[in-house]
Amino acid sequence: MRRIFVYIISLFLCLAVSSTDAQKKKQIIVPPDSTRLFNGFTVQLDVASLASSALTNSSTYSTEGALQIDLKHRIFPTLELGVAGANKTTADNINYKTNGMFERIGVDFNLRKRKKDAKPTNNLFIAGLRLGMSNFNYNVTNVVIPENYWGAGDPINYMNQSSTKIWYEIVAGVQVEVFKNFYMGWTIRDKNLISSDVTGKVAPWFIPGFGLNNGTSWGFNYTLGYHFWPQKKNAKNNKVFIDQKKINKQIINK
């Protein structure tokens, strides 16, 4: 089921990327103003985590959204907020249950360099960093003490355990404007825990926003976003101004 989901997502992505050129021809692209500091902001929703939770029989779920600010169309400070949880029962009937919020703060950089003669575009090839944090409670129940020669005992329940985890993520991905102000994109993330488990404490199995508590983890986000750009209306005037400049130059040359 997980594989089917991955193939569906990848097919969707391929179609999105390959159809970008076709869309470019149809849509009117308003070029981003790289001289202006604030170029609006994008509100994003991660559909990969949503679809994964719905389609697979996974014992974990996650929902998250993001706010991305466009500074000079090069630097993108990003705030990500989400809710995640797990309800996992092992083959030995040990159950792990958690629900918690997480937040990530970081910055993305647009690595795409625009050639002088290239058409203006809002598509991004991004790389960035995140600092993630989650404070959550969890229960580990029905932990059976192994039966030995002397017999078996009652299972142990570890209730209301709490933990705060901090991690960093290295992010890379693409973001494409598919319709006017409507963006689709994906990122892959290399996640690394900074805070380690306290010796003697019941360690969490799943960390909201991070994944399984293995020290390192990989993440995949597929986002849908809408760009709010209050100054965009004035961009047309800017374009006219640039054209006027060209005309002036031509007159001088003549």
Partner: protein
Amino acid sequence: MKKSIFIVLIFSILLNVSCNTDETCTQSKYVKLTAGFYHPHYNDTTKVLTVTSLQIDSLTVQGIKYDTLTHKYHLIDSLLFNNDKSKLSSIDLPLNNFATQSMFRFTLNSVVDTVTIYHTYFNNYLSLECGCLVTHSIDTVITTHHYIDSVQIKIRDVNTTKVENLRIYNHDKPIK
């Protein structure tokens, strides 16, 4: 640009597929007390005590459990060692995970002794896959003295590390 997008995409898919969780426990959960048999010999002329490893010709070990309902001790049906004639010089014994006392009935070369080990037990949560591990710390050991002369605690902590926790010394001549 397009090529690099596809390369990263394929890598991400491969990673996503390959990152399946492994639910098998790979950690060792084998916790047993190890006891070695020794024979002390004191030379009167040289006045030197020598201790040599002792091989038991015939060994039977059985647990004795305290019944909280009847308030009586009774032998556990199954035997840990049943007339073992493989000339053992050390044995592994399981300690009780739910009590602070483990009692064993030793039959060493047809001579019976009872060894009582008082210990503290600790429940250590390992992980969701592995569950719990119980380790022990030996407090005291009491024994009868028919074949066994004395018991020495070498290492108190009983955990997954295999070390000699106890040394059981015999008499030169067993008292029957």
